[in-house]
Amino acid sequence: MNKYYQHPVVIETLIDDSPGRLGLDSDNFFDYGHLRRSGAEIVTRDLAARISSLALPLKKQDEKKEVRIEWH
């Protein structure tokens, strides 16, 4: 493991080369490196679960102040 991955500010290193763990197959990829939307949803939900397990205090925007943003 590279020394920079062991920096004190790094709380977690998630490196997973095995698509099998998440049940991904070739249909979930554009090519060998880029995920399609279908694969990205699986990966993102898995990532969210791992973040949730870290129990970080994530700042939430005040709903009253929430502004709808359209980036188009």
Binding site: N2, Y4, Y5, H7, P8, V9, V10, I11, E12, T13, L14, I15, D16, D17, S18, P19, R21, L22, L24, S26, N28, F29, F30, D31, Y32, G33, H34, L35, R36, R37, G39, A40, E41, V43, T44, R45, L47, A48, A49, I51, S52, L54, L56, P57, L58, K59, K60, Q61, E63, K65, E66, V67, R68, I69, E70, W71, H72
Partner: protein, 277 residues
């Protein structure tokens, strides 16, 4: 010897130094450098260029966002893998609190640049996810276009060597050397096609490929380059270290993340590594 002789050396002698041509040439180079190469507009005119996309993301995505809870920085694999809306939904936070500013050919240096330029806002982030790749730890001596635009003189001297360092130092003084790609791109766009604007989706990510048929969208050729092609991305581990140091100063926890690869990727990435290193 007759003056008409073709072997006479007299005809080669300067009758007097006339530097007018030299001065005119120097002035022309100076005009190009000051009024073209040093203008930000030249670099960002094409939104889908390496520099233009940084400015587009800053102006169209980061600036209008009030509160960033989870920030994602990385390359195109990370951009495609992490869907802000899904992540926000799963974490129970607002969709606009999650930003994925990953970009094609994004390196740790690019992530560091975005963080440095928008630190006031991004330092309030609750969690930073940084995309990492195996090849990000391989040192190369080829500066990227973004490095040529954003780097300081000290970074140019410290992180490159030989001809690359000499070129970077020279181009720090004579910006035309750095800007020639942007100038050429501007010329092409003026002459042959309208300005190529970058497409940003409703979740703040750059749209670069049709999700259904895997075709690149037609105006994104410059940002739609493959990672494991002939132009393997140039990463530098020092930039990652710098970014982590800044996050430590700002008290931001960092999660290093590498999205899964398909089973065919092992051979392809190995071949790319052996070809370039």
């Amino acid at each position: 010897m007759s003056r008409s002789s073709i072997f006479s050396s007299e005809t080669l002698q300067l009758s007097g130094f006339r530097p007018y041509g030299t001065i005119v040439a120097f002035e022309l180079l100076l005009v190009v450098d000051i009024f073209l190469a040093r203008r930000e507009m030249i670099w960002v005119f094409a939104q889908n260029s390496p520099i233009g996309i940084v400015h587009a993301m800053e102006g169209l995505v980061i600036k209008p966002t009030e509160q960033v809870s989870v920030l994602v920085l990385g390359n195109s694999r990370v951009r495609d893998a992490i869907i802000p809306a899904v992540l926000a939904e799963e974490l129970g936070i607002s969709r606009t609190n999650v930003l994925n500013i990953s970009m094609t050919r994004g390196t740790p240096y690019d992530s560091l640049t975005i963080y440095r330029r928008n630190r006031e806002k991004l330092a309030k982030t609750s969690l930073l996810i940084i995309g990492v790749e195996d090849f990000s730890q391989l040192r190369t001596n080829i500066p990227s276009e973004r490095f040529r635009y954003f780097s300081s003189l000290a970074e140019r001297c410290e992180h490159f060597y030989g001809e690359a360092r000499a070129s970077l130092i020279a181009s720090y003084c004579w910006r035309t050397l750095d800007a020639y790609r942007s100038i050429r791109r501007l010329g092409k766009q003026i002459l042959f096609r309208p300005n190529q604007r970058v497409s940003i989706g409703s979740d703040g990510r750059v749209i670069w490929r049709d999700n259904e048929n895997a075709q690149y969208i037609d105006n994104s050729q410059e940002i739609a380059e493959r990672i494991y092609g002939d132009r393997v991305l140039k990463y530098d581990s020092w930039a990652l270290r710098e970014l982590l140091d800044r996050c430590a100063e700002d008290g931001i926890p960092v999660l290093l993340y590498r999205p899964p690869l398909s089973t065919a990727s092992g051979t392809a990435s190995g071949a790319a590594r052996s070809r370039h290193h």
